[in-house]
Protein backbone atom coordinates (compact mmCIF):
# COMPACT_ATOMS: atom_id res chain seq x y z
CA UNK A 1 0.00 0.00 0.00
CA UNK A 2 1.11 3.53 -0.64
CA UNK A 3 0.57 6.60 1.45
CA UNK A 4 -2.12 8.85 0.04
CA UNK A 5 -2.13 11.52 2.73
CA UNK A 6 0.91 12.47 4.70
CA UNK A 7 0.36 15.04 7.42
CA UNK A 8 3.75 16.00 8.83
CA UNK A 9 4.07 17.88 12.14
CA UNK A 10 1.30 20.29 11.29
CA UNK A 11 0.51 23.28 13.47
CA UNK A 12 -2.27 25.68 12.58
CA UNK A 13 -3.89 28.71 14.24
CA UNK A 14 -6.77 30.69 12.77
CA UNK A 15 -5.57 34.19 12.01
CA UNK A 16 -8.73 35.94 13.26
CA UNK A 17 -7.67 36.51 16.86
CA UNK A 18 -4.04 37.38 17.51
CA UNK A 19 -2.41 35.43 20.30
CA UNK A 20 -4.99 32.65 20.18
CA UNK A 21 -3.55 29.21 20.86
CA UNK A 22 -3.30 26.96 17.77
CA UNK A 23 -6.23 24.66 16.96
CA UNK A 24 -3.76 21.99 15.79
CA UNK A 25 -0.43 21.40 17.46
CA UNK A 26 2.25 19.25 15.87
CA UNK A 27 -0.15 16.72 14.37
CA UNK A 28 1.29 13.91 12.26
CA UNK A 29 -0.85 11.31 10.54
CA UNK A 30 -0.42 9.06 7.54
CA UNK A 31 -3.39 7.66 5.67
CA UNK A 32 -2.86 4.73 3.33
CA UNK A 33 -4.48 4.55 -0.08
CA UNK A 34 -7.73 2.62 0.33
CA UNK A 35 -7.92 2.99 4.10
CA UNK A 36 -11.11 3.74 6.09
CA UNK A 37 -10.14 5.95 8.99
CA UNK A 38 -12.31 7.67 11.57
CA UNK A 39 -11.17 10.93 13.15
CA UNK A 40 -12.96 11.38 16.46
CA UNK A 41 -13.14 14.42 18.67
CA UNK A 42 -15.40 16.93 20.36
CA UNK A 43 -16.45 20.27 18.95
CA UNK A 44 -13.36 22.44 19.00
CA UNK A 45 -10.87 19.55 18.98
CA UNK A 46 -9.50 20.62 15.59
CA UNK A 47 -10.92 17.79 13.49
CA UNK A 48 -12.61 20.02 10.89
CA UNK A 49 -9.45 22.10 10.63
CA UNK A 50 -7.52 18.91 9.97
CA UNK A 51 -9.99 17.98 7.22
CA UNK A 52 -9.62 21.38 5.57
CA UNK A 53 -5.84 21.10 5.58
CA UNK A 54 -6.12 17.87 3.59
CA UNK A 55 -7.31 19.51 0.39
CA UNK A 56 -5.63 22.87 0.63
CA UNK A 57 -8.64 24.82 1.88
CA UNK A 58 -6.22 25.79 4.65
CA UNK A 59 -2.44 25.72 4.63
CA UNK A 60 -0.41 24.73 7.69
CA UNK A 61 1.50 27.39 9.67
CA UNK A 62 4.20 24.84 10.33
CA UNK A 63 4.77 21.40 8.85
CA UNK A 64 3.54 20.04 5.54
CA UNK A 65 0.57 18.18 4.11
CA UNK A 66 1.30 15.90 1.16
CA UNK A 67 -1.54 14.54 -0.95
CA UNK A 68 -0.35 11.74 -3.22
CA UNK A 69 3.10 13.27 -2.90
CA UNK A 70 1.91 16.79 -3.79
CA UNK A 71 2.52 19.50 -1.20
CA UNK A 72 -0.61 21.57 -0.51
CA UNK A 73 1.61 24.67 -0.47
CA UNK A 74 2.36 24.14 -4.17
CA UNK A 75 -0.19 26.37 -5.87
CA UNK A 76 0.32 24.68 -9.26
CA UNK A 77 -0.86 21.38 -7.74
CA UNK A 78 -3.96 22.77 -6.09
CA UNK A 79 -6.33 21.59 -8.77
CA UNK A 80 -4.96 18.03 -8.76
CA UNK A 81 -5.03 17.98 -4.97
CA UNK A 82 -8.71 18.91 -4.92
CA UNK A 83 -9.41 16.36 -7.64
CA UNK A 84 -7.79 13.76 -5.40
CA UNK A 85 -9.49 14.68 -2.12
CA UNK A 86 -13.14 15.76 -1.94
CA UNK A 87 -14.86 17.01 1.23
CA UNK A 88 -18.48 16.54 2.26
CA UNK A 89 -19.59 19.03 4.89
CA UNK A 90 -21.98 18.87 7.80
CA UNK A 91 -24.84 20.70 6.16
CA UNK A 92 -25.55 19.47 2.60
CA UNK A 93 -27.37 22.73 1.88
CA UNK A 94 -24.02 24.50 2.00
CA UNK A 95 -22.76 22.59 -1.00
CA UNK A 96 -25.86 22.16 -3.13
CA UNK A 97 -26.15 24.87 -5.75
CA UNK A 98 -28.33 23.90 -8.68
CA UNK A 99 -32.10 23.63 -8.88
CA UNK A 100 -32.19 20.02 -10.09
CA UNK A 101 -30.45 17.02 -8.57
CA UNK A 102 -28.68 15.97 -11.77
CA UNK A 103 -27.60 19.52 -12.57
CA UNK A 104 -26.11 19.83 -9.14
CA UNK A 105 -24.10 16.65 -9.52
CA UNK A 106 -22.89 17.84 -12.94
CA UNK A 107 -21.91 21.27 -11.64
CA UNK A 108 -18.23 20.83 -10.83
CA UNK A 109 -17.56 18.88 -14.04
CA UNK A 110 -19.28 21.58 -16.07
CA UNK A 111 -17.20 24.26 -14.36
CA UNK A 112 -14.08 22.28 -15.23
CA UNK A 113 -15.12 22.25 -18.86
CA UNK A 114 -15.77 18.53 -19.27
CA UNK A 115 -17.48 17.37 -22.47
CA UNK A 116 -21.25 16.78 -22.36
CA UNK A 117 -20.71 13.06 -22.99
CA UNK A 118 -18.27 12.74 -20.12
CA UNK A 119 -20.57 14.75 -17.83
CA UNK A 120 -23.56 12.55 -18.70
CA UNK A 121 -21.59 9.38 -18.09
CA UNK A 122 -20.09 10.51 -14.78
CA UNK A 123 -23.38 11.91 -13.44
CA UNK A 124 -25.19 8.70 -14.33
CA UNK A 125 -22.58 6.59 -12.55
CA UNK A 126 -22.45 8.88 -9.49
CA UNK A 127 -26.26 8.86 -9.11
CA UNK A 128 -26.32 5.07 -9.35
CA UNK A 129 -23.51 4.72 -6.79
CA UNK A 130 -25.37 6.68 -4.10
CA UNK A 131 -28.89 5.60 -5.11
CA UNK A 132 -30.45 8.91 -6.18
CA UNK A 133 -31.13 8.08 -9.85
CA UNK A 134 -34.89 8.16 -9.26
CA UNK A 135 -34.62 11.66 -7.81
CA UNK A 136 -32.65 13.17 -10.70
CA UNK A 137 -35.36 15.57 -11.88
CA UNK A 138 -36.32 16.82 -8.43
CA UNK A 139 -35.36 20.07 -6.78
CA UNK A 140 -32.87 19.49 -3.94
CA UNK A 141 -35.02 21.38 -1.41
CA UNK A 142 -37.74 18.76 -1.86
CA UNK A 143 -35.45 16.00 -0.64
CA UNK A 144 -34.92 14.81 2.91
CA UNK A 145 -31.68 15.64 4.72
CA UNK A 146 -30.31 12.17 4.06
CA UNK A 147 -31.14 12.35 0.36
CA UNK A 148 -29.54 15.79 0.09
CA UNK A 149 -26.40 14.45 1.72
CA UNK A 150 -26.38 11.64 -0.88
CA UNK A 151 -26.62 14.23 -3.65
CA UNK A 152 -23.67 16.10 -2.13
CA UNK A 153 -21.68 12.85 -2.08
CA UNK A 154 -22.61 12.16 -5.71
CA UNK A 155 -21.37 15.63 -6.65
CA UNK A 156 -17.97 14.71 -5.21
CA UNK A 157 -17.98 11.21 -6.75
CA UNK A 158 -18.58 12.64 -10.23
CA UNK A 159 -15.09 14.15 -9.98
CA UNK A 160 -13.67 10.66 -9.36
CA UNK A 161 -11.57 11.50 -6.30
CA UNK A 162 -9.31 8.93 -4.65
CA UNK A 163 -10.28 10.08 -1.18
CA UNK A 164 -13.48 11.39 0.39
CA UNK A 165 -13.44 13.29 3.66
CA UNK A 166 -16.84 13.28 5.38
CA UNK A 167 -16.68 16.13 7.89
CA UNK A 168 -19.50 15.52 10.39
CA UNK A 169 -21.56 14.61 7.36
CA UNK A 170 -24.10 12.76 9.50
CA UNK A 171 -24.52 15.07 12.45
CA UNK A 172 -27.57 16.93 11.17
CA UNK A 173 -29.40 13.78 10.10
CA UNK A 174 -31.88 11.65 11.99
CA UNK A 175 -30.57 8.31 13.30
CA UNK A 176 -31.82 6.16 10.41
CA UNK A 177 -30.51 8.52 7.74
CA UNK A 178 -27.24 8.68 9.67
CA UNK A 179 -26.89 4.90 9.59
CA UNK A 180 -27.63 4.92 5.86
CA UNK A 181 -24.94 7.49 5.10
CA UNK A 182 -22.39 5.58 7.18
CA UNK A 183 -23.35 2.40 5.27
CA UNK A 184 -22.96 4.30 1.98
CA UNK A 185 -19.44 5.46 2.91
CA UNK A 186 -18.49 1.87 3.71
CA UNK A 187 -19.99 0.70 0.45
CA UNK A 188 -17.99 3.28 -1.55
CA UNK A 189 -14.89 2.15 0.32
CA UNK A 190 -15.55 -1.52 -0.46
CA UNK A 191 -16.72 -1.28 -4.03
CA UNK A 192 -14.53 1.49 -5.41
CA UNK A 193 -11.52 1.18 -3.13
CA UNK A 194 -11.93 4.83 -2.12
CA UNK A 195 -9.96 6.14 0.82
CA UNK A 196 -12.44 7.41 3.41
CA UNK A 197 -11.67 9.86 6.21
CA UNK A 198 -14.74 9.98 8.36
CA UNK A 199 -14.75 12.85 10.84
CA UNK A 200 -17.27 12.55 13.65
CA UNK A 201 -17.95 13.04 17.35
CA UNK A 202 -19.94 9.80 17.61
CA UNK A 203 -18.06 6.76 18.86
CA UNK A 204 -20.65 4.40 17.38
CA UNK A 205 -19.72 5.51 13.87
CA UNK A 206 -16.19 4.28 14.49
CA UNK A 207 -17.14 0.64 15.02
CA UNK A 208 -16.50 -0.50 11.43
CA UNK A 209 -13.46 1.63 10.62
CA UNK A 210 -10.04 0.12 9.96
CA UNK A 211 -8.38 2.69 12.19
CA UNK A 212 -9.53 5.33 14.64
CA UNK A 213 -7.61 8.41 15.73
CA UNK A 214 -8.83 10.71 18.49
CA UNK A 215 -8.10 14.42 18.60
CA UNK A 216 -8.24 16.49 21.75
CA UNK A 217 -7.49 20.19 21.87
CA UNK A 218 -5.52 20.02 18.67
CA UNK A 219 -3.44 16.97 19.41
CA UNK A 220 -3.68 13.31 18.53
CA UNK A 221 -4.20 11.53 21.85
CA UNK A 222 -5.19 7.99 20.93
CA UNK A 223 -5.04 5.77 17.86
CA UNK A 224 -5.84 2.15 17.17
CA UNK A 225 -8.38 -0.30 15.81
CA UNK A 226 -11.99 0.20 16.92
CA UNK A 227 -11.68 -2.82 19.24
CA UNK A 228 -8.57 -1.34 20.91
CA UNK A 229 -10.22 2.07 21.25
CA UNK A 230 -13.50 0.75 22.64
CA UNK A 231 -11.65 -1.41 25.15
CA UNK A 232 -9.90 1.67 26.50
CA UNK A 233 -12.90 2.74 28.56
CA UNK A 234 -10.98 4.80 31.08
CA UNK A 235 -9.28 7.00 28.51
CA UNK A 236 -12.59 7.40 26.68
CA UNK A 237 -14.15 8.54 29.92
CA UNK A 238 -11.48 11.14 30.56
CA UNK A 239 -11.97 12.30 26.96
CA UNK A 240 -15.71 12.52 27.70
CA UNK A 241 -16.55 10.34 24.72
CA UNK A 242 -19.66 8.29 25.38
CA UNK A 243 -19.54 4.61 24.59
CA UNK A 244 -22.57 3.34 22.69
CA UNK A 245 -24.84 1.56 25.19
CA UNK A 246 -24.57 -1.92 23.55
CA UNK A 247 -20.76 -1.73 23.82
CA UNK A 248 -21.02 -0.45 27.38
CA UNK A 249 -23.20 -3.46 28.19
CA UNK A 250 -20.77 -5.85 26.49
CA UNK A 251 -17.91 -4.41 28.56
CA UNK A 252 -19.75 -4.81 31.84
CA UNK A 253 -20.80 -8.35 30.97
CA UNK A 254 -17.19 -9.26 30.24
CA UNK A 255 -16.37 -8.16 33.78
CA UNK A 256 -19.09 -10.57 34.96
CA UNK A 257 -17.29 -13.36 33.14
CA UNK A 258 -19.28 -13.51 29.91
CA UNK A 259 -17.07 -14.48 26.97
CA UNK A 260 -17.59 -11.74 24.38
CA UNK A 261 -15.01 -11.29 21.64
CA UNK A 262 -13.22 -7.92 21.68
CA UNK A 263 -14.03 -7.32 18.05
CA UNK A 264 -17.79 -7.71 18.56
CA UNK A 265 -18.62 -4.04 18.09
CA UNK A 266 -21.93 -4.04 16.24
CA UNK A 267 -25.34 -4.89 17.64
CA UNK A 268 -25.49 -7.97 15.43
CA UNK A 269 -22.08 -9.20 16.54
CA UNK A 270 -22.77 -8.64 20.24
CA UNK A 271 -26.17 -10.34 19.97
CA UNK A 272 -24.48 -13.29 18.28
CA UNK A 273 -21.95 -13.56 21.13
CA UNK A 274 -24.61 -13.32 23.84
CA UNK A 275 -27.24 -15.59 22.35
CA UNK A 276 -28.37 -18.31 24.73
Amino acid sequence: MSILLDIQHVTYAYPVVAGQSPVLRDVSLQVQEGEYIVVLGHNGSGKSTLARLCNALLLPDQGNVLVGGMNTRDITKRRSIRDTVGIIFQNPDNQIIATLVEDDIAWSLAVQGATPELIAERVEAAMAAVGVTALRQLAPHKLSGGQRQRVAIAGILALRPRCIIADEATSMLDPLARQEIVALLHQLHREYGLTIIHVTHLLEEAALAQRVVILKQGQLVLAGTPAEIFANTQTLQTLKLTLPEPIMLAGRLRELGYAIADNALTIEAIAQELRP
Binding site: H201, P244, L256, G257, E268, A271, R275
Partner: protein, 288 residues
Protein backbone atom coordinates in the same frame (compact mmCIF):
# COMPACT_ATOMS: atom_id res chain seq x y z
CA UNK B 1 -55.09 12.17 33.08
CA UNK B 2 -55.48 14.39 36.10
CA UNK B 3 -54.91 18.08 35.62
CA UNK B 4 -53.57 18.17 32.07
CA UNK B 5 -51.99 21.45 30.96
CA UNK B 6 -52.58 20.82 27.25
CA UNK B 7 -55.66 19.11 25.79
CA UNK B 8 -55.91 18.43 22.07
CA UNK B 9 -59.25 17.26 20.70
CA UNK B 10 -59.86 16.09 17.14
CA UNK B 11 -57.19 18.43 15.84
CA UNK B 12 -56.71 18.61 12.08
CA UNK B 13 -54.51 21.05 10.23
CA UNK B 14 -53.94 21.69 6.54
CA UNK B 15 -51.38 23.95 4.96
CA UNK B 16 -52.82 25.94 2.14
CA UNK B 17 -50.24 26.74 -0.48
CA UNK B 18 -52.25 28.40 -3.21
CA UNK B 19 -53.82 25.64 -5.24
CA UNK B 20 -52.71 22.66 -3.21
CA UNK B 21 -53.98 21.75 0.19
CA UNK B 22 -51.57 19.65 2.22
CA UNK B 23 -52.98 17.81 5.21
CA UNK B 24 -50.38 17.95 7.97
CA UNK B 25 -52.40 16.67 10.94
CA UNK B 26 -55.44 14.40 11.03
CA UNK B 27 -57.68 13.91 14.02
CA UNK B 28 -55.15 14.18 16.83
CA UNK B 29 -56.33 13.55 20.39
CA UNK B 30 -53.95 13.83 23.29
CA UNK B 31 -53.38 15.23 26.77
CA UNK B 32 -50.17 16.43 28.33
CA UNK B 33 -49.92 16.30 32.13
CA UNK B 34 -48.81 19.33 34.12
CA UNK B 35 -45.15 19.08 35.11
CA UNK B 36 -44.47 16.10 32.87
CA UNK B 37 -41.82 15.78 30.18
CA UNK B 38 -43.31 14.38 27.00
CA UNK B 39 -41.58 13.62 23.72
CA UNK B 40 -43.13 13.94 20.29
CA UNK B 41 -41.28 11.74 17.83
CA UNK B 42 -41.68 11.08 14.13
CA UNK B 43 -39.75 11.39 10.89
CA UNK B 44 -39.45 14.63 8.94
CA UNK B 45 -42.87 15.51 7.61
CA UNK B 46 -44.77 13.53 10.24
CA UNK B 47 -46.34 16.70 11.64
CA UNK B 48 -44.38 17.13 14.88
CA UNK B 49 -43.52 20.77 14.38
CA UNK B 50 -46.99 21.58 13.06
CA UNK B 51 -48.50 20.06 16.20
CA UNK B 52 -46.34 21.96 18.69
CA UNK B 53 -46.80 25.25 16.86
CA UNK B 54 -50.45 25.03 17.88
CA UNK B 55 -49.42 25.02 21.53
CA UNK B 56 -48.31 28.64 21.48
CA UNK B 57 -50.70 29.87 18.84
CA UNK B 58 -48.29 30.12 15.93
CA UNK B 59 -50.87 28.01 14.09
CA UNK B 60 -54.63 27.82 14.62
CA UNK B 61 -56.48 24.52 14.17
CA UNK B 62 -58.19 23.94 10.84
CA UNK B 63 -60.61 21.74 12.78
CA UNK B 64 -60.83 20.63 16.39
CA UNK B 65 -59.62 22.37 19.53
CA UNK B 66 -56.39 22.93 21.41
CA UNK B 67 -56.66 24.03 25.03
CA UNK B 68 -53.55 25.29 26.78
CA UNK B 69 -54.11 26.03 30.43
CA UNK B 70 -57.81 26.49 29.54
CA UNK B 71 -56.98 29.03 26.85
CA UNK B 72 -58.65 27.97 23.60
CA UNK B 73 -55.95 28.56 21.00
CA UNK B 74 -58.36 28.55 18.08
CA UNK B 75 -60.86 31.00 19.59
CA UNK B 76 -61.40 34.38 18.01
CA UNK B 77 -59.79 37.18 19.97
CA UNK B 78 -57.59 34.82 21.99
CA UNK B 79 -54.91 36.72 23.89
CA UNK B 80 -51.83 35.47 22.02
CA UNK B 81 -49.53 37.65 24.05
CA UNK B 82 -50.63 35.98 27.25
CA UNK B 83 -50.48 32.53 25.64
CA UNK B 84 -46.94 33.01 24.39
CA UNK B 85 -45.75 34.16 27.79
CA UNK B 86 -47.02 30.92 29.24
CA UNK B 87 -45.75 28.70 26.45
CA UNK B 88 -42.13 29.22 25.50
CA UNK B 89 -40.92 27.75 22.24
CA UNK B 90 -37.29 27.16 21.39
CA UNK B 91 -36.77 26.60 17.69
CA UNK B 92 -34.25 24.32 16.05
CA UNK B 93 -30.71 25.73 15.91
CA UNK B 94 -31.79 28.40 18.36
CA UNK B 95 -28.22 29.67 18.69
CA UNK B 96 -28.61 31.30 15.28
CA UNK B 97 -31.42 33.48 16.62
CA UNK B 98 -29.44 35.44 19.18
CA UNK B 99 -29.08 39.12 18.46
CA UNK B 100 -28.21 40.92 21.71
CA UNK B 101 -25.01 42.88 22.05
CA UNK B 102 -24.34 41.13 25.33
CA UNK B 103 -25.62 37.94 26.87
CA UNK B 104 -27.59 40.04 29.37
CA UNK B 105 -29.28 42.08 26.63
CA UNK B 106 -30.26 38.98 24.76
CA UNK B 107 -31.82 37.17 27.70
CA UNK B 108 -33.49 40.39 28.92
CA UNK B 109 -35.32 40.93 25.63
CA UNK B 110 -38.33 38.77 26.58
CA UNK B 111 -38.93 40.19 30.07
CA UNK B 112 -38.54 43.74 28.71
CA UNK B 113 -41.17 43.02 26.08
CA UNK B 114 -43.36 41.91 28.96
CA UNK B 115 -42.89 45.44 30.36
CA UNK B 116 -41.27 44.40 33.59
CA UNK B 117 -39.42 46.76 35.90
CA UNK B 118 -35.65 46.97 35.83
CA UNK B 119 -35.13 45.01 39.02
CA UNK B 120 -37.52 42.27 37.93
CA UNK B 121 -35.82 41.97 34.52
CA UNK B 122 -32.45 41.71 36.19
CA UNK B 123 -33.49 39.07 38.68
CA UNK B 124 -35.13 36.99 35.96
CA UNK B 125 -32.08 37.16 33.71
CA UNK B 126 -29.74 36.24 36.56
CA UNK B 127 -31.86 33.29 37.57
CA UNK B 128 -32.36 32.08 33.98
CA UNK B 129 -28.62 32.22 33.25
CA UNK B 130 -27.92 30.43 36.51
CA UNK B 131 -30.18 27.52 35.64
CA UNK B 132 -28.46 26.94 32.27
CA UNK B 133 -25.04 26.97 33.89
CA UNK B 134 -23.81 30.32 32.52
CA UNK B 135 -23.57 32.49 35.63
CA UNK B 136 -24.41 36.15 35.05
CA UNK B 137 -21.24 37.42 36.73
CA UNK B 138 -19.08 35.49 34.30
CA UNK B 139 -21.14 35.71 31.12
CA UNK B 140 -23.54 38.66 31.45
CA UNK B 141 -21.39 41.27 29.75
CA UNK B 142 -19.86 39.03 27.08
CA UNK B 143 -20.98 39.01 23.49
CA UNK B 144 -23.03 35.91 22.69
CA UNK B 145 -21.11 35.61 19.44
CA UNK B 146 -17.81 34.81 21.09
CA UNK B 147 -19.25 31.76 22.86
CA UNK B 148 -19.38 28.17 21.63
CA UNK B 149 -22.41 26.77 19.81
CA UNK B 150 -23.52 24.78 22.84
CA UNK B 151 -23.25 27.83 25.12
CA UNK B 152 -25.15 30.00 22.64
CA UNK B 153 -27.92 27.45 22.54
CA UNK B 154 -28.15 27.53 26.32
CA UNK B 155 -28.39 31.33 26.16
CA UNK B 156 -31.32 30.99 23.78
CA UNK B 157 -32.88 28.60 26.29
CA UNK B 158 -32.28 31.13 29.09
CA UNK B 159 -34.01 33.76 26.97
CA UNK B 160 -37.15 31.65 26.91
CA UNK B 161 -36.86 30.72 30.59
CA UNK B 162 -36.61 34.38 31.61
CA UNK B 163 -40.25 34.75 30.61
CA UNK B 164 -41.11 32.07 33.21
CA UNK B 165 -43.18 29.90 30.91
CA UNK B 166 -45.35 27.14 32.31
CA UNK B 167 -44.79 25.04 29.23
CA UNK B 168 -41.48 24.78 27.42
CA UNK B 169 -41.44 23.44 23.85
CA UNK B 170 -38.03 22.36 22.61
CA UNK B 171 -37.77 21.59 18.90
CA UNK B 172 -34.78 19.31 18.19
CA UNK B 173 -32.77 20.94 20.93
CA UNK B 174 -29.63 18.79 20.73
CA UNK B 175 -29.09 18.53 16.96
CA UNK B 176 -25.43 19.12 16.15
CA UNK B 177 -24.20 19.13 19.76
CA UNK B 178 -21.49 16.65 20.73
CA UNK B 179 -21.84 14.15 23.57
CA UNK B 180 -20.51 16.52 26.19
CA UNK B 181 -22.78 19.36 25.05
CA UNK B 182 -25.75 17.05 25.14
CA UNK B 183 -25.01 15.70 28.59
CA UNK B 184 -24.74 19.27 29.91
CA UNK B 185 -27.99 20.31 28.25
CA UNK B 186 -29.83 17.30 29.65
CA UNK B 187 -28.70 18.04 33.18
CA UNK B 188 -29.88 21.65 32.85
CA UNK B 189 -33.24 20.50 31.54
CA UNK B 190 -33.64 18.17 34.51
CA UNK B 191 -32.79 21.07 36.81
CA UNK B 192 -35.36 23.30 35.10
CA UNK B 193 -38.04 20.67 35.60
CA UNK B 194 -37.16 20.16 39.20
CA UNK B 195 -36.79 23.79 40.21
CA UNK B 196 -39.59 25.33 38.21
CA UNK B 197 -42.06 22.50 37.68
CA UNK B 198 -42.22 23.40 34.00
CA UNK B 199 -43.98 21.07 31.57
CA UNK B 200 -41.51 20.15 28.84
CA UNK B 201 -42.52 19.11 25.33
CA UNK B 202 -39.55 17.66 23.43
CA UNK B 203 -39.68 17.36 19.68
CA UNK B 204 -36.96 14.90 18.81
CA UNK B 205 -35.82 12.12 16.57
CA UNK B 206 -33.01 11.11 18.88
CA UNK B 207 -34.37 8.13 20.75
CA UNK B 208 -31.49 8.01 23.22
CA UNK B 209 -32.43 11.54 24.20
CA UNK B 210 -36.08 10.62 24.52
CA UNK B 211 -35.18 7.63 26.67
CA UNK B 212 -33.03 9.86 28.88
CA UNK B 213 -35.54 12.66 29.45
CA UNK B 214 -39.16 11.86 28.66
CA UNK B 215 -41.72 10.11 30.81
CA UNK B 216 -44.29 9.84 28.01
CA UNK B 217 -43.87 9.46 24.25
CA UNK B 218 -46.22 10.34 21.38
CA UNK B 219 -45.36 8.86 17.97
CA UNK B 220 -46.61 10.73 14.91
CA UNK B 221 -46.66 9.25 11.44
CA UNK B 222 -48.02 11.03 8.38
CA UNK B 223 -50.01 13.43 10.51
CA UNK B 224 -51.58 10.83 12.75
CA UNK B 225 -50.93 9.85 16.34
CA UNK B 226 -50.07 6.19 15.89
CA UNK B 227 -48.68 5.22 19.29
CA UNK B 228 -48.28 6.64 22.77
CA UNK B 229 -46.97 5.35 26.06
CA UNK B 230 -44.06 5.27 28.46
CA UNK B 231 -40.69 5.15 26.69
CA UNK B 232 -40.07 1.53 27.70
CA UNK B 233 -43.35 0.32 26.22
CA UNK B 234 -42.88 2.36 23.06
CA UNK B 235 -39.28 1.23 22.52
CA UNK B 236 -40.24 -2.40 23.04
CA UNK B 237 -42.07 -2.15 19.69
CA UNK B 238 -38.96 -1.85 17.56
CA UNK B 239 -40.42 -3.35 14.42
CA UNK B 240 -43.44 -1.05 14.34
CA UNK B 241 -41.18 1.97 14.91
CA UNK B 242 -38.98 0.89 12.02
CA UNK B 243 -41.97 0.75 9.66
CA UNK B 244 -42.60 4.39 10.60
CA UNK B 245 -38.99 5.22 9.76
CA UNK B 246 -37.92 5.57 13.39
CA UNK B 247 -34.91 4.03 15.03
CA UNK B 248 -35.07 2.57 18.52
CA UNK B 249 -32.26 3.33 20.97
CA UNK B 250 -29.29 1.04 20.16
CA UNK B 251 -29.59 -0.81 23.47
CA UNK B 252 -33.27 -1.63 22.83
CA UNK B 253 -32.20 -2.87 19.42
CA UNK B 254 -29.63 -5.19 20.99
CA UNK B 255 -32.10 -6.51 23.58
CA UNK B 256 -34.68 -7.11 20.85
CA UNK B 257 -32.07 -8.96 18.78
CA UNK B 258 -31.30 -11.15 21.79
CA UNK B 259 -34.98 -11.84 22.46
CA UNK B 260 -35.47 -13.00 18.87
CA UNK B 261 -32.50 -15.32 19.42
CA UNK B 262 -34.33 -16.90 22.34
CA UNK B 263 -33.06 -14.98 25.38
CA UNK B 264 -35.93 -14.61 27.87
CA UNK B 265 -35.15 -10.99 28.74
CA UNK B 266 -38.26 -9.41 30.27
CA UNK B 267 -39.79 -6.41 28.48
CA UNK B 268 -39.18 -4.11 31.43
CA UNK B 269 -35.39 -4.42 31.08
CA UNK B 270 -34.45 -1.27 29.18
CA UNK B 271 -31.33 0.33 30.68
CA UNK B 272 -27.72 -0.89 30.76
CA UNK B 273 -27.94 -1.33 34.54
CA UNK B 274 -31.13 -3.36 34.30
CA UNK B 275 -29.61 -5.56 31.60
CA UNK B 276 -26.43 -6.13 33.63
CA UNK B 277 -28.54 -7.12 36.65
CA UNK B 278 -30.56 -9.55 34.54
CA UNK B 279 -27.45 -11.14 33.02
CA UNK B 280 -25.81 -11.40 36.44
CA UNK B 281 -28.86 -13.30 37.72
CA UNK B 282 -28.72 -15.67 34.75
CA UNK B 283 -25.08 -16.38 35.45
CA UNK B 284 -25.89 -17.18 39.07
CA UNK B 285 -28.73 -19.55 38.12
CA UNK B 286 -26.65 -21.31 35.52
CA UNK B 287 -23.72 -21.61 37.90
CA UNK B 288 -25.79 -23.61 40.36
Amino acid sequence: MTNPVIIVKNLAYSYNSGLMEKVALRDINLEIGRGSCVAIVGTNGSGKTTLVQHFNGLLRPTRGTVLVNDINVGAKGVDLRQLRQRVGLLFQLAETQLFGRTVFEDVAFGPRQMRMGKAEVRSRVVSALDIVGLPFLKYGTRSPFELSGGERRRIALAGVLAMSPEVLILDEISVGLDGEGRAALYSYLRAIRKKRNVTIVLVSHDMTEVAALADWVFVLHQGQLVLQGEPRTVFAQGERLLTWGLAVPPLSELLTALRTRGAAIPADVVTVDEAVTWFALQKKHNGK
